[in-house]
Symmetry: C2
Subunit: 351 residues, 2 copies
DNA sequence: AGGTACTGTGGGAGCGCTCCCACAAGTGAT
DNA sequence: ATCACTTGTGGGAGCGCTCCCACAGTACCT
């Protein structure tokens, strides 16, 4: 009921119809102009644009959404409590990439936390109401029902970190396999002979792929993979400590450790210290994630960096594709629906 | 799982009309039920609710927005680059309060950064299109054109930290006057005699109020305010350093300093150290904001805490009021449009 | 000459709601 | 019995767009 508009007649916001009247054209033509259709002559376009300018016309979004059955909004869903969101640079990096890519478009980004049960219920309603055209899902746990819900509702969605090699949702991932391999190759190249690996939780697909990369790195260099050198961790510091303890007992001769995450590397470092092994002199250590921990560790930790910001950009790109495709029923290019971005080894003094 | 909700198969979503048919009532009645109108008999309500459940009906938001001329969304506008948003706990605290209060309602929160010129242009368009019912403005600089734009567009808005005592927008603030006074009273109560004050930028209203509180604290205790003890800073660490240097030159006999922000207190601390003054033995130090800096300073800094989360809640409360009032033209209760929340002194070892 | 294919344009028919007026039925006072 | 309310209900009339069909005009074939 508000009255507004920079130069609105009588305070009401001008409608498309009024613009059409002023420009001396039909409604359809104005619609074509403001939506950038090419099927409009130059002269007409100019006339309409002038009328838009004079009246200070701004399209009514609700009417648009209703008529076109779209919302021009996508949601970034964070299935974590807010505190983690602010604490971990992963999310802000991701948000930066997403925001940058999205600013090229008219799309709007909604940030939705779904950490608590209550928030999740709200989210489910939200999605059921189709209030967004698509969803970006970051940091999803293996048993999360959210991806399936999205599938059922047929809402385009892109997930960061596929849940398996048979991920049904469009996904973006970093090259965990390549990252694992890079870590091993780096250690071997620096003259290490016995490289152990502390894995992440193996029900996380990415962790599994890092193990695969580790194996491949050894094999490609002509080494035989010694299973005793692989010890499962769980992404926690304590898990890293336990794993490192076992590895030292089992293979005291090891001279390098590749940990599946910086946090586990930190746990491993403590155990190595206590055992009197110097880093990197006696044992070289490589982590994964290139997080703040890596930079602040003593000694600074060599780590495999994932291009999080680029992953964010890639997610948007894929999602916009999916959204565009989902309107006319176009067969989707399945090969292009799983992007994998390269990792990079950041060398510091721990190796 | 029973067959409610989630019509699978991308099929059409049920409309209000279909719910009405199923429940054997008219469209208007269903609308009344889903909007919680009291003018519906118990029996009818139950029938409609059953139909809603059976069909898995969810209102179409766009249609609602178009017909009712509202969006059920409000924007939290942060006129800062994203990096600051993530770096400062101020914003996450605020967001927590806002989110908590908002989760009681059907309203949706949009987080909008307006740090760059480009982002600001986008925001202006966004607001012109009336895509939100109201706006929360945090951390606004004195010369920011945003508040005026909001006024012109007649969009309800609440600002955190009024720009002056004559703020036109609805505002929420912490009691800067009381906070300043508390700091001084605390220092005097602990036996200090000569309390200096490093102010914030005096074109920031809140900083000015802290100075007023400082004066009042001294006066109320029977002290004469010595203007030589007041030195302007600019909220930066370097500014704190400069101010402290001057104060020491001018009044070497001072035995307490109240800094208008923790960051400036940190600068002051360095200068005091270099001058060989011990904290708190020789000089007691009190900051403002109770930020992470305060907790991590050596020695931990006594500081005045602002109830940021509660401020967020209060902002939502006021905004929702404004939005409700702006629909029927009700005269607003001007007295209630400027909330001031109490501050609290957090005592640590620096005083 | 007619046929075929475009390009550019106007406007009808909705999209799914809310608002509001009309009206039936019930209640109590006259 | 009438009147004056109140309560509950149905449904018409939009809200401001997009989609799509119809059709005039032009161009280039047979």
């Amino acid at each position: 009921m508000a009255s507004h508009g920079t130069r609105g007649r009588g305070g009401r916001r001008p409608t498309l119809e009024e613009v059409a009247a002023r420009a001396g054209v039909g409604r359809g033509t104005v619609s074509r102009v403001i939506n950038g259709s090419p099927r409009v002559s130059e002269a007409t376009r100019a006339a309409v644009e002038a009328a838009v300018e004079e009246l200070g016309y701004v399209p009514n979004n609700a009417a648009r959404a209703l008529a076109a059955n779209r919302t021009d909004a996508i949601a970034l869903v964070v299935p974590e409590p807010e505190t983690r969101f602010f604490a971990e640079p992963y999310f802000s990096d991701m948000l930066r990439g997403v925001g940058a890519e999205l600013s090229e478009t008219e799309m709007q980004l909604l940030l939705i936390f779904a950490g608590s049960d209550r928030e999740r219920r709200r989210l489910a309603e939200y999605l059921a109401a189709h209030r967004v055209d698509g969803v970006l899902l970051v940091s999803v746990h293996a048993d999360d029902p959210l991806p399936d819900l999205l599938g059922q509702l047929e809402i385009p969605a892109v997930i960061s970190g596929p849940r398996s090699s048979a991920e049904t949702l469009t996904s973006v991932d970093s090259d965990n396999f390549g990252g694992g391999r890079q870590a091993v190759e780096h250690l071997l190249a620096r003259g290490r002979r016995t490289v152990a690996h502390i894995t992440g939780r193996l029900d996380v697909y990415g962790a599994q792929r890092r193990v695969d990369g580790y194996r491949e790195g050894l094999r490609a260099a002509g080494h035989v993979v010694d299973e005793r050198l692989i010890e499962p961790g769980d992404f926690t510091e304590e898990g890293g400590r336990r794993a490192m303890t076992r590895l030292l007992e089992r293979c005291p001769e090891l001279d390098a450790v590749f940990a599946g995450s910086d946090v586990m590397a930190s746990g491993a470092r403590q155990v190595l210290r206590e055992a009197g092994r110097r880093i990197p002199d006696d044992v070289a250590l490589v982590g994964y994630d290139d997080s703040a921990i890596a930079r602040h560790m003593d000694p600074p930790l060599t780590s495999v960096r994932q291009p999080i910001e680029e992953m964010g950009r890639a997610m948007i790109e894929l999602l916009l594709n999916d959204i565009a495709d989902s309107r006319p029923a176009v067969s989707r290019d399945l090969e292009r629906r799983h992007a994998v971005l390269p990792t990079q080894l950041v060398h510091r003094t721990s190796s």
